[in-house]
Symmetry: C2
């Protein structure tokens, strides 16, 4: 345990005529040997508070010291050292904020919580919000909302642990580059415009008071650094969570959200890229696509011979939509049952009464009105299917472009870590059938959950991880796929199931008699 904030017990000699150094200087002198010989500095805003508290405590108690990249920083002195030194790790997601409250003394998790990102009302996706930010006062509004919600979430966590929010001494923040810009009140205008440049990738840690966060005013706020507009601190966090940068064997990390972000590497090198892949997999784009919430269809099976369909929903509630993993299951099943062809087009007459002609052409009924939550059928139409085909094509094109850049084959990867809700719920086998993930043994794929939050947690307790976070961003070679020619060519080849080159997917049935 080398936490971001430490309580250091101090018993200092009281001042005397023989030892007349100043109060703060005395405290710094006592602390230096405990901090590798470095006397901690004191920010002006804490000068009077620390000096007064140290004297009132009779020169005994515990110093609160922040471990910053520029050295130790003394920010408080407590006469009665608390049992718990609270801190929060925050995943600042586009759609959801998720956080853990922990005790820095022990690393123990005290509370966990999440809430919707209230910026959704101002723009469901990142691009809409960037446009909103560029309106008069737009950025200020987005910034204030995210700060207010962070305050609400950290306050709730503190409440549940029976603590005052102002006892929270640190906050690590992991988010995509745009969310980080909103959080720091930085102009996001250039993030979405070629050549896609952030205002800042690696902000220095600041204090809660700087951002009007209602934690302890001198709480360290450490935002994980990113490497580009489409490769943010959430991915750096993911790398730290699965130790990609420490392993001898080459591995890959995939995070699918609005974008697909991919890193490949080992302890010697790291190459990353990102590209738009996700919209069809999450709510807001496909009409039936929803986030992985209760009532979302998360698993689908289609008996190839009979076409009999079975599905499971989250929490077993009546279905109201299909989440990312359900969508992949569904389309893989439709392919194996030959209800869609290798281009991802419905085959007329292939599914009897399940396949109907609707206002958008053919439409496949997953859950008829009688089974559905709101009496409306849950279906997949050609428009949504086309979107999914583009997403899966983009995903595989990203992966192959990246592999080609590093001159490796998929078989040389020891592990493929799959982050996020996508990784948590999808069946790798179904994604392989679609040609979305490479045709490797399913045990190669390791779901790692919310790695953005996990990395932020490690930042709180591990000095090595904090150091690595800063080294990482210099170590990563980032390839911008938004304008990559190779990616565009590979994208075209990936718009078939599983691929135009079916030798890439030997385990997936290939239907030679299909129409082209």
């Amino acid at each position: 345990m080398e936490p971001l904030v430490r309580l250091i017990r101090v018993i200092a000699d009281p001042p005397s005529l023989q030892d007349n150094t100043g109060d703060l200087d005395r405290l710094q002198r006592v602390l230096a040997p405990r901090l590798s010989g470095v006397a901690p500095r004191v920010p002006y805003g804490r000068l009077a508070a620390v000096a007064t508290a140290f004297r009132q405590a009779g020169f005994q108690g515990a110093a609160v010291v922040n471990d910053l990249p520029t050295g130790p920083e003394l920010v408080d002195f407590l006469a009665d050292p608390p049992q718990i030194l609270p801190a929060v790790a925050l995943d600042l997601g586009t759609t959801q904020l998720e956080a853990n409250l922990i005790d820095l003394n022990t690393g123990k998790i005290l509370a966990h919580g999440h809430c919707e990102n209230p910026q959704i009302e101002l723009g469901a996706d990142i691009l809409t919000r960037i446009h909103f930010a560029c309106r008069d006062q737009g950025l200020a509004i987005l910034h204030e909302r995210i700060i207010a919600t962070t305050n609400k979430l950290t306050g709730d966590l503190a409440d549940r642990a029976g603590l005052a929010p102002t006892t929270i001494r640190a906050l690590t923040v992991s988010g995509n580059t745009t969310m980080v810009h909103f959080f720091l009140n930085m102009n996001p205008y250039y993030l979405c415009r070629e050549p896609y440049i952030p205002a800042v990738n690696s902000p220095d840690p600041c204090h809660a008071i700087d951002l009007a966060l209602t934690l302890h005013p001198a709480a360290v706020v450490w935002v994980l650094p990113g490497v580009g507009s489409y490769f943010g601190g959430d991915l750096i966090s993911g790398i730290l969570a699965c130790n990609l940068d420490q392993a001898e064997q080459t591995a890959m990390l995939i995070d699918v959200g609005t974008n697909a972000e991919v890193v490949i590497g080992n302890r010697d090198w790291l190459i990353a890229c990102a590209g738009a892949a996700g919209p069809a997999l999450e709510g807001g784009v496909a009409r039936m696509g929803v986030r992985a919430t209760p009532g979302a269809i998360e698993h689908v099976e289609i008996e190839p011979a009979s076409g009999v369909i079975t599905y499971g929903t989250i929490d077993g509630q009546k279905p109201y939509g299909i989440c990312g993993s359900g969508m992949i299951d569904l389309v893989a099943g439709l392919y194996l049952a030959r209800i869609i062809d290798l281009r991802g087009k419905f085959r007329p007459g292939s599914a009897k009464d399940r396949l109907l002609v609707g206002p958008n052409g053919l439409s496949f009924i997953v859950a008829p009105p009688a089974e559905a939550a709101d009496g409306q059928p849950v279906f997949l139409d050609q428009i949504d299917l086309d979107a999914l085909m583009r997403s899966k094509a983009a995903m595989y094109a990203i992966l192959t472009t990246l592999m080609n850049q590093v001159g490796l084959t998929f078989a040389q990867l020891a592990r493929i870590y799959v982050a996020g809700a996508f990784g948590q719920h999808i069946a790798p086998r179904q994604a392989i059938i679609l040609g979305m993930l490479p045709d490797l043994p399913v045990e190669t794929f390791v779901p790692i959950g919310n790695s953005s939050l996990k990395g932020a947690l490690k930042m709180l307790t591990d000095a090595g991880v904090r150091r690595r976070s800063l080294e990482l961003i210099r170590k990563i070679t980032y390839i911008e796929l938004n304008v990559n020619q190779e990616f565009m060519i590979r994208f075209s080849g990936s718009r078939f199931i599983p691929h135009t080159d079916h030798t890439l997917f030997p385990s997936v049935p290939h239907f030679r008699d299909e129409e082209p």
Copy 2:
């Protein structure tokens, strides 16, 4: 020239798809090789401003970088680098503030100014102000006054140089420990209570905005460190001004204000002490004692045989009081003319009509009513004379106690630097006659003027001096004289003119036939 704040010219490659690093990160990357390989950090308050300015300037212009003990700090970016980079050195005196506005690019002084310390209305001396500070809101009032006055003074200097105050990028502050506490809004309660402990000796630099100073908000505010309640940053500044800590030969620095502060040493060691010595030498204590302002009698001669008195005033104006140097001249003359005895008591009948009996016993008329500015005589009575005798005794006792501590004789001193208005105006010979300064060749004494301001100026332009200022405070051994037994014994022996042991002053006439 290694100024505290530097303008670093930058021509950065504009961002591209091949070089997609963030704006701030790009600027930091370009600056690092110019800053010994260290990428400057950016405080949160400047994050958006610097990133925006760098982009708007087309990635070309000049970065403003503060040189702090913790490393370089990037605080601004200017598309059109100004010709002048203004900064202010401030001597924060108990009675007067004095400041220089300089150009950090060249070191050239652009303006000089001074004003009264407005805290005088709340307490003429430091002790009264400390007591005031401990009343409800007292410290806040003292703090606000000194900040407001600093803003006024720096604003006036900027006006005179034709600059906006917000173009000022740095402020170095040199003051005694109490004034520094007021300036930083720190509790001074323990400064004047045994064992005389400051809340802080060595505060870290902060920004103008922290102290509500109306300079550039990110201007560095660097307060010179002190070593004790009675040995403040003004003395450290003095040591830096005369390079006492760099010399091979041992020398001494004397600064007489409300206290006498003395340092002795060389490049290997420094020993310092301070004690109350000055009150009789400046305005506010002796009724006729005034500060060295126009109309103050600064030189006095008394023809020993005839008793004829001549005097000079500052600016040749009609006299209204006697300043420190005039007081010393006067008393030395009174002694040589045998108008006072070796105990410093008026000898009745020794000065005809100049020596009158007043309400406080005998009183010597320096300037009769007809010559004086306000028609009131300028005189010295026994009470003022007694005060001066105590001061001069304290001064010599301080010097001899310190010399004894280091095991050296006065003759071993290469130089005695005499700081402040006192050093500027006194005739060393007269001070030797009184037994206030040791009996050395007058060329040993080197007046160095306002060394507090001079040191603060050096801090602005010389990185070596800034480093030394921090090393110095660890190098100095400080002896608290307020409770020193040896000092008390030596003080008693020094209450005669020139001393009970007249062999210590071979050059001074000794009147054997005096009454004891």
